[in-house]
């Protein structure tokens, strides 16, 4: 299959599905859903193929495709995957495919919904396979608008209206990205000077980054940190996240919490850290502090919530705190942990949101005091919920434990006491995850919900796909870590080399 542009195919499959959908009459809801499912399935199958045929021993960029694109900006259509981007790509596809099925019951303007969803998935995938900064940026922001429209039409208003939530999410992230963009443009201009010509490929930019002065690296990294940090909902730039998820329809919450947020973490590792090691070194302790603050703060805030989506919303802020802590610990174990934890959290959060979506769909409430005893009436839903909750609290045997453990190792080694505060978050996490689970699923069943139908048929797909990933990743962490490590080691080797040189200019 060498020479076949498999990554482009992965990207285009959902787009193709979207194009086909535009020609389907809007009444054909079932057909539209099937087309969306097929499109995302093709992507998922191909990305699984790529994942398992990637040579981890060899490492580096594989499946590369490069076509010159914009000459005067040095842009090329450069897609490639390495050990860091591949898990993210796979994650996107797992969640994207599941999201289609989690939205199986969308009957309000399904055509528009699934077209936007497919575009959204493509956008997210694009950021992970792009190996060119410009192409990355193209995809980076392209996702925001579909999300906005998805939220305002198919979202739900609770504590805040969906319009508010959607707007806040969009503007917040865009303003974050504005700072990022300034950083990236400034960096690009400097790099063009260093390289003697514009080149947007990651590899070239990393080479250029080597020669930037420590001062430049520091402020450029700060900009990127703010941009990517607000996407990854780094404390205190997180406040879009709970409201945003609460307002969004299930599929969007899944994709947003599951993968979109990860673009922030991915960008921090693959762009900010990779290009600007000295800057990263300077900011690492601050990242760690913010990470720990996020973990604790958001965990406490989650504890005070009664709306299921808010719990998961704050919980995802909290979990992303670990990612920040991991990146802040600035060593190869930390990077491994950060990437793996993003994958783990993605699967878990997506499953969580899909479950909550089903609960909401069936009971028309997400307010915990109004729920209870669902385990009796909808056992399969309960299993999904518990799986997600347990993964959230880092239960060993499920996917998130080992990444968290890895992060703890990395952070504890570097930061000691500070890390302990962060690690203590696992207690709080257990507290709110179990409270949510127990109060929703257990206790005396309510008569109003006796008629509820358990999830079945297509609704089972998210549980099966994501649940399998949760368990498989938990039992065989090497599936994930071999991959991640093959990407993290070269990255950190590069970083350490740069630190040794210490910035030439």
């Amino acid at each position: 299959m060498s020479g076949f542009p498999v990554l482009t195919t992965i990207l285009l499959a959902p787009v193709a599905a979207a194009v086909i959908m535009t020609f389907i009459p809007r009444e054909e809801g079932k057909l539209i859903k099937c087309v969306a499912a097929v499109g995302t399935f093709v992507s998922m199958a191909l990305s699984l193929y790529v994942y398992f045929s990637y040579d981890t021993a060899l490492g580096g960029l594989q499946f590369a495709e490069k076509i010159p694109w914009i000459k005067d900006l040095g842009v090329s259509w450069f897609l490639a995957v390495d050990g860091i981007s591949l898990p993210m790509l796979l994650l996107t596809n797992l969640i994207g495919f599941s999201a289609v099925f989690a939205s199986w019951n969308v009957d309000n303007r399904p055509r528009e919904f699934f077209i936007l969803l497919c575009l959204l998935i493509t956008g997210v995938m694009g950021t992970f396979v792009a190996h060119d900064l410009f192409i990355f940026l193209l995809f980076y922001e392209v996702v925001v608008i579909p999300i906005y429209i998805l939220v305002i039409i198919w979202g739900s208003s609770k504590r805040v209206s969906k319009e508010y939530a959607g707007m806040k999410l969009t503007i917040y992230l865009l303003i974050g990205s504005a700072f990022l963009l300034v950083g990236i443009i400034a960096f690009f201009v400097k790099s063009a000077g260093i390289l003697g010509g514009p080149d947007m490929s990651f590899t070239a930019l990393a080479e250029a980054g080597k020669q930037l002065s420590a001062f430049d690296q520091t402020w450029l990294f700060a900009l990127m940190l703010f941009g990517f940090g607000s996407l990854v909902s780094m404390w205190p730039f997180h406040s879009w996240s709970p409201d945003g998820y609460a307002g969004a329809p299930t599929a969007v919450s899944m994709i947003h919490a599951g993968v979109l947020k990860k673009i922030g973490g991915y960008g921090l590792v693959k762009i900010a850290l990779y290009f600007l090691p000295l800057g990263a070194k300077f900011w690492a302790p601050y990242m760690a502090v913010l990470g720990v603050a996020g973990v604790t703060y958001a965990a406490f805030a989650a504890l005070a919530q009664k709306d299921l989506k808010y719990i998961v919303g704050y919980s995802s802020v909290s979990h992303m705190g670990y990612v920040m802590l991991a990146i802040g610990s600035f060593n190869v174990i930390g990077i491994n942990g950060a990437v793996a934890n993003m994958f783990a959290h993605g699967v878990m959060a997506a499953l969580f949101f899909s479950t909550i979506g089903f609960i909401y769909e069936k009971t028309h409430t997400r307010w915990i005091p109004d729920l209870g005893g669902l385990a009796r009436q909808t056992p399969r839903l309960a299993v999904a919920f518990m799986l997600a909750a347990l993964a959230s609290l880092g239960l060993p045997g499920l996917i998130s434990f080992i990444p968290e453990f890895t992060i703890f190792i990395a952070a504890f080694k570097v930061y000691g006491g500070l890390a302990v505060i962060g690690i203590a978050g696992i207690i709080l996490t257990a507290l709110y995850a179990l409270r949510a689970g127990a109060n929703t699923l257990f206790g005396p069943p309510r008569e109003d919900y006796d008629h509820l139908k358990d999830i079945r048929g297509p609704e089972m797909v998210p549980l099966v796909v994501l649940g399998t990933a949760l368990v498989a990743g938990g039992i065989l962490p090497s599936l994930l870590f071999d991959m991640v490590n093959s990407g993290a080691v070269p990255l950190m080797t590069h970083v350490e080399n740069v630190l040794k040189i210490g910035g030439v200019m």
Binding site: W69, I70, L73, I153, E163, I171, V182, I185, A186
Partner: protein, 476 residues
């Protein structure tokens, strides 16, 4: 003096065309005058073909008074494209609301001719006359709905304020002429490089900035534009926002980047501040607007601020950014205004709240509106993003703060753009009947959207053309 008139064939063609349309109006019976729109549109395409055919036929006339280089050719193509789209998109509107087709189309053609002259003019007089041809034509177009008092009010505001600003501009030109003893821009540049920034010259610069700032509606010289944009017939607004602004940028670039290059250190920061203020005010005031045209007017103020960013460094990259942005700005703006004008045709309203459910009544119109607006906001993968990238690339080293202001405000602008999207996509229409979009408008909308997307996704070819144009400008 050898005069190669082949250089100005497009301009001559435009003049002839304008007169032809005027005469045709007298011949053609009233019932079939709507055909004039088609005629004009096709003729514009023809002229565009002439410009393209003469792409490499460059040179200057009358001792540098009139320069035909790729820079001006590019601008001419931009104007012609804008005019083409506006004509195509406004035929129904003209027939229904304006009447006087031949006057309308010929005036529009003369306005375009004025812009073309501005793009090539290399001395103050030609420049001024081009500018005034365009302005007078626009004044007439703005109050073309002579029964509509809003249209007339805007026309009156425009004529008085434009006259006043022309006076200021002229005052500035006269001072520059007085100091340098020449009105040819190259020579002005040479003279100024020798003489440096005299105080009186700086007064001239102030007046030039004010006079041209008026045309591009840079804050604080922008006050006229929202009112005029709102009051004018919508297709005219589109052309005004696009053509007038782009043409004024053409002379702004010539005057400042060529003429005032020697004293660039004295005005760079001024332009940077102006750009920043323009971006901020335009975007902030757009937020509370409820009328779509007025909102677009404020947004186009902000857009002028962005284009101004490219001038700050007086560099080839900056000019390139301006050219690119001006080009893409045409399509986004014309797209948005065409939707607005067609919507007005159907519903008689310009209020944003009446756009409720447009996505269901006409997905194409809603999509074009969103794409156009997001392009203006600079959201990838739309053209505006690439344009902003080019622009801010030039200033990020020296004017980092401006990059911050520009990009942050562009994200703020998404707020009001998305409010329109919200109304169009979320709300249920009060009147659910689908809107059938007429063929010429469909073409306009599709072209606008396609170019906006294409420039965003694959800007390579256009950026190379723009590069050549900017290069030719600096070779000169």
């Amino acid at each position: 003096m050898q005069v190669d008139l082949s250089l100005i064939v497009p301009e001559m063609a435009m003049a002839v065309l304008g007169l032809t349309v005027l005469i045709l109006g007298l011949i053609v019976p009233k019932e079939s005058r709507h055909g004039l729109g088609w005629f004009t549109a096709l003729a514009l395409l023809g002229v565009m073909g002439l410009v393209l055919a003469g792409w490499n036929n460059t040179g200057s006339l009358y001792g540098d008074l009139y320069v035909v280089d790729q820079f001006s050719q590019f601008f001419k193509i931009t104007f012609l494209a804008a005019a083409f789209l506006v004509v195509l998109g406004s035929m129904r509107f003209v027939d229904k609301h304006l009447g006087g087709q031949s006057e309308y189309y010929s005036t529009l053609l003369f306005a375009t001719l004025g812009m073309m002259v501005m793009a090539s003019a290399n001395d103050f007089m030609t420049m001024y006359l081009g500018l005034e041809l365009m302005t007078i034509a626009f004044i007439i177009l703005v109050c073309f709905r002579r029964t509509e008092s809003k249209s007339l009010e805007s026309g009156m505001k425009y004529v008085l304020l434009a006259g006043m600003s022309s006076a200021v501009l002229l005052y500035g030109l006269s001072l520059v002429y007085g100091i340098t003893g020449t009105v040819v821009i190259n020579e002005v540049g040479q003279a100024l490089a020798l003489r440096g920034p005299l105080p009186i010259l700086m007064l001239g610069v102030v007046m030039l900035v004010a006079g041209l700032g008026f045309k591009i509606s840079a804050v604080p010289f922008h006050m006229w534009s929202p009112d005029i944009y709102e009051g004018a017939p919508t297709p005219v607004t589109a052309f005004l926002a696009v053509g007038s602004k782009a043409a004024s940028f053409a002379i702004l670039i010539r005057i400042f980047v060529v003429g005032m290059f020697g004293i660039s250190l004295n005005w760079e920061l001024l332009l940077a501040i102006l750009a920043a203020v323009t971006i901020i005010v335009g975007n902030l005031v757009a937020i509370p607007q409820t009328n779509i045209k007025r909102m677009l007017a404020y947004s186009s103020i902000a857009q002028a601020g962005y284009i101004l960013v490219g001038l700050v460094t007086a560099s080839q990259e900056g000019v390139k950014g301006v050219l690119f942005y001006a080009f893409l700005y045409v399509f986004a703006t014309v797209g948005a205004f065409t939707v607005a004008s067609y919507f007005y045709n159907v519903t008689g309203s310009d209020e944003i709240r009446d756009y409720a459910g447009l996505a269901q009544r006409s997905p194409l119109m809603a999509a074009v509106m969103v794409v156009a607006m997001l392009s203006m906001a600079g959201i990838p993968p739309l053209a505006g993003f690439v344009g902003k990238f080019y622009l801010f690339m030039t200033i990020v080293e020296d004017y980092l703060w401006l990059a911050f202001i520009g990009l942050v405000m562009s994200m703020v602008s998404v707020y009001y753009y998305l409010r329109v999207a919200l109304v169009m996509y979320r709300d249920e229409p009060l009147d659910g009947t689908p809107i059938a979009v007429s063929a010429p408008v469909t073409v306009t909308l599709l072209v606008a959207m396609a170019v906006t997307l294409f420039l965003g996704i694959y800007p390579g070819p256009v950026s190379e053309v723009v590069n050549t144009a900017a290069h030719s400008f600096f070779m000169h």
